[in-house]
Amino acid sequence: MRDIFLAVYARDLRLALRRRIEALLPLGFFVVAASLFPLGVGPEPQTLRDIAPGIVWVCALLAAMLSVTQLYAGDFADGSLEQMLLTGHGATVIAAAKAAAHWSVTGLPVVVAAPLVGLLFGMSAASLAALTFSLLLGTPVLSLLGALGAALTLGLRSAGVLIVLLVLPLSIPALIFGSGAVAAVDGGQSPQAHYSLLGALLILTTLTAVPATAAALRISLE
């Protein structure tokens, strides 16, 4: 089982490395989209500091959703997905490996880039740390939920927008706890409760979204 996980994970990373520009497009989206908000809202420093946690989190959410359409599409088209579902342990290991690969390629760069974007909004050092840590816990949740959406909408024409519609409502708890942590730090309070909730959400999502994605893959390939 671990061999299959590592084989799929390593292959996905290798494929992403061979197409570096495409792999980094979601990161580009994240930075550009976040930068639009000051232009729309005005450069007032206090306003920007107030809205920053929410903006950065929403942009991370959208970047994750937009990149997740390709998660299964290529493998579905060339028959690789069928082969992956034929392994003894079936779809669960595949779902876990691909979600992990998606996070490594899309989520992790967003976590690394977030402090830089936060600086654009004039966030304090403590807030930046909270933002980064909350995204570290939250982006895996987004990858897992996005993978579920991608599996449900496999092969459909309007899959991209449909995934966004399906997955965004489910991502709201992560958004609330994540941006709430940063807002708490901004307001001088402890973000501990938020981090705990995010951590619990991560565990719960891992335990439920992976089997659900596996079931969705089997449904989509029947």
Binding site: V8, R11, R18, G74, D78, E82, M84, L86, G88, E222
Partner: protein
Amino acid sequence: MSATTSSLPAIPRFSAVALACSRAGRSLFSKLSLEILPGQLVWLRGANGRGKTSLLRLAAGLASPESGQLRWDGQPLGSHRQPLYLGHANALKDDLSVGEALQFLLRLHGRVAGVPHVDAALSRMGLHGWRDAPMRTLSQGQRRRVALARLAAEDKPSLWLLDEPFDALDADGVQRVNGLLVEHLQHGGGVLLTSHLPLDIDEPRPVVVHLDAYA
């Protein structure tokens, strides 16, 4: 049925009982029963759209039948070694090299995937020295050979489910695949395949199943 000539355990008997399958509301076939004994090659024939690919996918476990059962020696599917399924699509990523793509498929199915094994498999399919070539530089026929190299890497008899394996192959390729098939059958394996081209195998004699009879 030819006698098995190896010391490896032959595959259990595969049987399908009263299978029914439909697609988009239209029934493809019903009350289909067939059996694959160790050392037997079953050739699925039928017009386009009769459900040949659907039957292979049912046998592989990718889809569940509307009714009927699939059994290994009386046990439900899944309790024995997975069949090897080669579909229409080659499952080879363009961005990988030939060796990497083949290694991934071997590793995925728990087969030994070291470089010597990959090289040996590629050689049997006439692709000696192509290990480092990028997949995207290969022709259709060459890609099919890489996909079929999985068959050459098999060391234990199992059930092979092959969907149009001879597609895009030249005479040399067809001959190599026939060689692999015969060897596999002699070791007690089983084969269920579709092919719109006539089969060039006499020993063991293929069992023909016409899907039109079950429409």
